[in-house]
Subunit: 303 residues, 2 copies
């Protein structure tokens, strides 16, 4: 018997999406931070759709403050909207919890959800609660609509050879706290797509070593990264910066001709958030391989 | 410490929705089968949003055929769109599964999801997979957009005193198989809202004894039901017909003046599906109480 652990998340998804009807509009298909749906030319924006789940013991520990878990559940989705150049719309919250769950914990969770929605302009439209058997992990699943102005949507797949690669902020060590209380880079991403034309973007959730190859593969490119340039959280090694995951920083590919102006303007707009050029996209087969990063169903891979 | 079991699902939801920002548009708020979002007068339809989860051991047993579980996961959401008078749009699938899960089982699940999407015109737009700790229950969470023509949307809350109450099909005994392979009543519901003006509608997921009081409460009414009129699955008692849950039939409130014509036209349109008048909405405080039905976090209630 072959199990999910044997094949890992990316290969699983590739197999599964062959089994269901797909939209004729390729923009709506799976494989990016969000799905993009065009609801017709009468709307000035495209709709984004996203679902994301937090699982107890995997994405948070039972000892984590409930408010922080609720914040994280929403912030991860906001980060995905940021990665498309968009903004949040309506949210649906699904809670699958053991009947033994402390009511106060659930109320704290909802306060955290509410605080994050309020901060970033999301609206709760509904949700569902279900029990899970005693001893099962709690699951918090968030689904949301978002919006992106026509012409400002950024996909993973439009990077091209020669593009400069940037990351925001510092990478590594998220487990010491940032993974619970991070600020999604939505203000910065919205500024970016309003002022520049990034060719590809995604948020770093599984670690640069896992996510950069995804962006490059989706774009039909290879990549080269100068490890000495990777902006590290103080105290972190390069391996941690590449592999820890849950950074929720933006990985940006942009035409190299725009790169110098971007660096200058970014420093004026966001003096307190680093934007660091770490490498470039190259021709397919001409770049590096990376190891490390978080692999669902398999845990940390390589180093 | 107060737990979720102590307060039950409806009271939990009432407490939680006070903790988050709500849309200024009351149509978008929680409390119906779906949220209704008005995306502006340029669109002839309103958007529906829905999320629904299946939990192993709660909504399906590990021994259930994977294809049937996938079908059920999507069919429950289609049934909710039917209850609003709408139709399915784009779907997001979240799988939270132990790494030990058999890959063939997951592929079977997706084939069932695909079959149900194809049958009812839903489109897969994306999704997510996450691991859960070994021994935890599998959770399959479906989120979807849907659409309803302006003026045809039906809420739970617009029922009025004197309305006749109808149910489709037969109630009770779903656990013997129907809960896995039911046909959502979307063709019938779409016909209904195109030809009549039901004042309230919902799908029966937790049992008539649980769901009818919800519809009546949302409408600010009481209700009277003639138990002798409840259409029972052969072999089921009245208590089973009222309390088993997972019937996925439609509960309809409609002005009594429309009732005779509805009965006549329904019989012509759907000669093989019963439509049965079971009672009426009455003034608040003037009706019955019912016991039984499925209570999340508490299990079966009453007798």
């Amino acid at each position: 018997m072959k199990t999910l652990r044997d094949i890992g998340e990316d290969a699983l998804i590739e197999r599964l999406i062959t089994l269901v009807p797909k939209d004729l509009d390729p923009a709506a298909g799976p494989g990016d931070d969000c799905a993009i749906i065009d609801l017709g030319p009468s709307l000035p924006e495209l709709q984004l759709l996203k679902t994301d789940a937090l699982v107890e013991h995997i994405h948070f520990l039972p000892s984590a403050p409930a408010e922080a878990v609720g914040w994280k559940a929403v912030a991860r989705v906001v980060s995905d909207f940021a990665a498309m150049g968009g903004r949040p719309g309506h949210f649906l919250v699904t809670l699958a919890l053991p009947a033994e769950t402390d009511l106060e914990w659930v109320e704290g969770l909802y306060r955290g959800i509410g605080a994050c929605l309020k901060r970033f302009g999301g609206i709760l439209a509904g949700g569902e609660t279900s029990s899970v058997p005693a001893g099962s992990a709690a699951v918090i699943s968030i689904a949301a609509t978002g919006w992106v102005s026509r012409g400002q949507q950024v996909r993973r797949s439009m990077g091209k050879t020669g593009d400069s690669l940037f990351v925001t902020g510092l990478l590594g060590g998220s487990i010491t706290g940032k993974h619970l209380n991070f600020i999604p880079r939505i203000v910065e991403a919205n500024w970016l797509v309003s002022n520049f034309l990034p060719s590809a973007m995604m948020d770093l959730s599984d670690g640069l070593a896992k996510d950069l190859p995804r962006l490059a593969k989706a774009s039909g490119c290879g990549f080269r990264v100068d490890e000495a340039l990777i902006p590290l959280t103080p105290g972190c090694t390069v391996a941690q910066g590449m592999g820890d995951g849950e950074d929720y920083e933006m990985l940006i590919a942009i035409d190299q001709a725009q790169a110098p102006m971007l660096v200058t303007e970014w420093a004026k707009a966001f003096p307190e958030l680093a934007l660091t050029r770490i490498g470039e996209l190259v021709e397919l087969g001409g770049g590096q391989a990376l190891s490390g990063g978080w692999e669902h169903f398999q845990g940390i891979t390589g180093d």
